[in-house]
Symmetry: C2
Subunit: 134 residues, 2 copies
DNA sequence: ATCTGTTATATGACTAACACATATATTATA
DNA sequence: TATAATATATGTGTTAGTCATATAACAGAT
């Protein structure tokens, strides 16, 4: 299973454990943060997501569905923008409720990072410490 | 949605965004690491998981199914232990392949932590920096 | 003896996030 | 007129996670 690797020197490691290890729903806080910075439409959000995060492509299906769900939950509101060229854009802006939700996400994310650190500490204590060996 | 919170001083925040923000399949590397430290049966792993990580209860259903899957994938192997009191225990030990998989997981987890940091940096740059305000 | 609690493993059913494919319409450009 | 880029959207299947429940061995109490 997976490619072999012991190097421990994070080289490639691509396509191993597909889907695993990622943060559940991580697109959600990103969308809210990007919308907090400024209102935007789906396609633009997709591109902005693709830049900072090297998330593999930022699936449009998931993105548009998430925005729809956000609107249904009152976290964002939208309006059509027909100005400019190309097809009409549905422009989203974040609501106060969306802001609160974003802040709540941040608390969760900090907690998640602590959990990761706890795991990595335990891992290193076992594999990189003088005794315990192996 | 959710409880209100602006305090920014991570107080309770319980049961908000249920399930979201957690690392997908995070039980997997934990199980492999615990088994790398020493062979164990499911129930024991459940208790050891519940200690370090304050994961809410470490669902037995998921745990046993994951161990089964691991065995099917050759990451662990098991044998029955009928010695001692109580019902028989299925004792798992990690295989070489399981070890490799664990190391691969660690690479993924480090990458995930970097993604979290990138998000938090972006968040703080917007909400905690002097300008940008709001 | 029976009842309750602990240890121990396991299945069933449902949800949500995600992955991948595809449909659609508009506009620009080759 | 064909192709590509922009833009939004649906359909379908997979998997981790959640919650409930079933089963069984054994210990101690009443």
């Amino acid at each position: 299973m997976c490619n072999s690797h012991h190097g421990e020197q994070g080289e490639s490691e691509e396509r191993c454990c597909p889907g695993r290890g990622r943060v559940r729903g991580f697109m959600q806080p990103w969308l809210l943060l990007l919308l907090a910075q400024k209102p935007a439409h789906g396609y633009e959000l997709m591109e902005r997501l693709g830049q900072d995060d090297e998330t593999p492509g930022a699936d449009p299906g998931l993105l548009y569905r998430t925005l729809r769900q956000f609107e249904e939950d009152g976290l964002v509101r939208s309006s059509w923008d027909t100005k400019g060229s190309g097809p009409a854009r549905r422009v989203y802006e974040i609501t106060d409720e969306g802001m609160e939700y974003l802040h709540a996400w941040v608390v969760n994310i900090r907690r998640t990072r602590e959990r990761l650190d706890r795991f990595l500490a335990e891992y290193q204590a076992y594999f990189q410490s003088p005794e315990e060996g192996r």
